[in-house]
């Protein structure tokens, strides 16, 4: 056993927990742990809603011809699946983890702006109810893809303005959440918790928060222009009125590419926490990791047009965006090297968080490599809008972002609940997920290279075999995810009690608190000795 089952640990803090009870605890929540829990539950619900949409997509694509879905509804499903997963599942999951962990990791009693925190969360259920309700209005849900390119997006029905409003609400929620994270980190760190003593999860979130503040307004502007083009007679993106639909793509991807890093940078932070713990070694190259994260964030602003090489642009532009995209491989390579070097000659053990982190390391790298292929302009002309792109970004986002979230939950769940979860079942969850995520997405590389276009409900018969394999992988992956909430639920209900330091190799201020931590933690700042012990990098 690599975890510490200190049954004798005193839980005398319970007596000092003055927490509200009943529905008021959640509706009026200002405690960072409660709000973190609500974000995570919301993300979990969105994950299953978005996942069920993916199942419908894979069901339709199981064989050629139209089987179950109307083509318009199929397009709605691809669009809504993406919006649900990006804005409803991955982003709220990271915000939930930030809420739970950042105050505990920097020695702060709570987030700096607790009421704003409550507001940021409670916007989300309304935004997503609005978004999902578009499926029931005339014209159906948005069907122009999550990128919302005009003129296709402008052809939407009554659901179109509802989608735009929902996106505004999600954007405002994200910006307010990001402001809270920055203010907390910059102002509420315990004395002695210098910037270069902060855990990597806190660092990556700080940089992510700045990205959010910078790019979410761009998305808001872009979708507002769509709205005015549709309802108020402007022609920003309508060629007939002197506008340019390609301009939307530039604006959208100026938001969209940093958004990819908003989804993945906290994953880098989590993996940088997990790998040292289960290697029983300090993180190799801590400062290099911080600078690499900042470099990736900076580069994310100057690569956007690699998403749209085929719309046509000057050769100098193509070269600039190709080379700047390739540059991202350098700081990312630094990270992969440092994680590997951390494990080198470490005393490794393979508990579920480490398994998910290792899977992340291998499979995210595959997604990164296919990203490099897509950065090459002439090659991209062949891959553009094929299933190769779908395979690429799903490798980045599923075994990348989603596996890192699962790894993070398996890592910190014993801290949150005070109980160790069923590790055997979690290991099953890991293997089923890892095997079937590859069965699901790897064949899509072959389909893309063979020329199968994305976002179509029907396809030529030569693509049948790999689509069947992909769908079988999808169904198995989807089913195996039901293990996750079951494992969490079982752990919340009870289990072997764990000590403060649930994992023997763990370092950081959160592990100095009892498990579960008191409702109000670090009401007095931690000592310098505790901070130094935690900052073992």
């Amino acid at each position: 056993m690599a975890y510490n089952d200190h049954a004798a640990t005193a839980h005398d803090h319970d007596a000092h927990d003055h927490k509200p009870h009943g529905w008021r605890r959640w509706v009026f929540a200002t405690n960072h742990k409660d709000i973190g829990t609500m974000y995570l539950v919301f993300a979990g619900i969105s994950f299953f809603i978005g996942g069920s949409m993916a199942m419908l997509i894979r069901l339709e694509l199981f064989k050629p011809g139209m089987q179950f879905l109307d083509p318009m509804f199929f397009n709605s499903m691809t669009t809504m699946h993406a919006l649900e997963m990006i804005f409803g599942a991955v982003m709220p999951a990271w915000t939930g983890l930030a809420n739970w962990m950042i105050p505990m990791q920097v020695g702060a009693p709570d987030m700096a702006l607790p009421r704003l925190n409550n507001f940021s969360f409670w916007i989300l259920p309304f935004a997503f109810t609005l978004l999902l309700s578009t499926l029931f209005v005339p014209g159906g849900g948005p069907a122009g893809g999550w990128t919302m390119y005009p003129p296709l997006m402008l052809q939407g029905g009554a659901g179109f303005p509802m989608t735009i409003f929902a996106i505004h609400m999600m954007g405002i929620s994200s910006i307010l959440g990001a402001i809270n994270v920055v203010v907390t980190i910059m102002n509420l760190r315990a004395p002695g918790m210098t910037l270069l003593r902060m855990p990597l999860f806190v660092w990556t979130w700080l940089i992510t928060a700045y990205l959010l503040i910078a790019v979410m307004p761009v998305l808001a502007g872009a979708v507002t222009m769509l709205l005015t083009d549709h309802f108020f007679g402007t022609t920003f993106f309508t060629a007939a009125g002197g506008g340019d639909p390609v301009m939307f793509q530039h604006i959208f991807w100026f938001f969209g590419h940093p958004e990819v890093y908003i989804l993945i940078l906290p994953a880098f932070g989590v993996v940088s926490e997990i790998i040292p713990t289960f290697s029983r070694k300090p993180l190799f190259g801590y400062e290099a990791m911080v600078y690499a994260t900042a470099s990736i964030a900076f580069l994310s602003f100057i690569v956007w047009a690699h998403h749209m090489f085929t719309v046509g642009m000057p050769l100098a532009g193509q070269l600039f965006f190709m080379l700047s995209t390739m540059l991202i491989a350098i700081p990312t390579g630094v990270k992969v090297f440092n994680w590997t070097a951390t494990m080198y000659r470490g005393s490794l053990s393979f508990e579920p968080p480490m398994l998910f982190a290792l899977s992340f390391l291998f499979l995210f790298t595959i997604g990164g490599l296919s990203g490099l292929m897509l950065a090459i302009v002439p090659a991209d002309y062949q891959y553009q809008d094929t299933y190769f792109v779908v395979a690429h970004f799903h490798y980045v986002l599923v075994p990348g972002a989603v596996f890192a979230i699962m790894g993070a939950i398996y890592y910190w769940l014993p801290k949150w609940t005070g109980n160790m979860y069923d590790q055997k079942l979690a290991t099953w969850h890991f293997w089923l997920s890892t095997i079937f995520v590859n069965v699901l997405f790897f064949p899509q590389h072959f389909l893309g290279l063979a020329g199968m276009p994305r976002r179509i409900p029907d396809y030529a018969v030569q693509f049948t075999d790999w689509n069947m394999v992909s769908s079988i992988g999808g169904f198995a992956f989807g089913l195996s995810q039901f293990l996750f909430p079951y494992i969490i639920w079982k752990c919340v209900r009870g289990g072997v009690r764990v000590g403060n330091r649930a994992w023997e190799g763990a370092h950081g201020l959160e592990w100095e608190l009892p498990s579960p931590p008191p409702f109000h933690s670090w009401t007095e700042p931690p000592s310098d000795a505790l901070i130094q012990r935690g900052a073992a990098h």
Binding site: H13, M186, L188, M216, P217, T228, F236, P518, W522
Partner: protein, 47 residues
């Protein structure tokens, strides 16, 4: 026990001012970005 430490807590008022200052600054930056981008777009449309 949780929360016990030997560090001296920073002045609460000073910390509160820092929180307000940073929150205000970021709020203004975000609002200027958010509203400014849309206002710029409306202005361009009416030219």
């Amino acid at each position: 026990m949780a929360g016990n430490g030997t560090s001296t807590a920073p002045d609460a008022g000073q910390r509160q001012r820092g929180v307000r200052r940073t929150a205000l600054l970021l709020g203004i930056v975000a609002a200027v970005f958010y509203v400014g981008f849309i206002a710029m777009m409306v202005w361009r449309a009416t030219r």
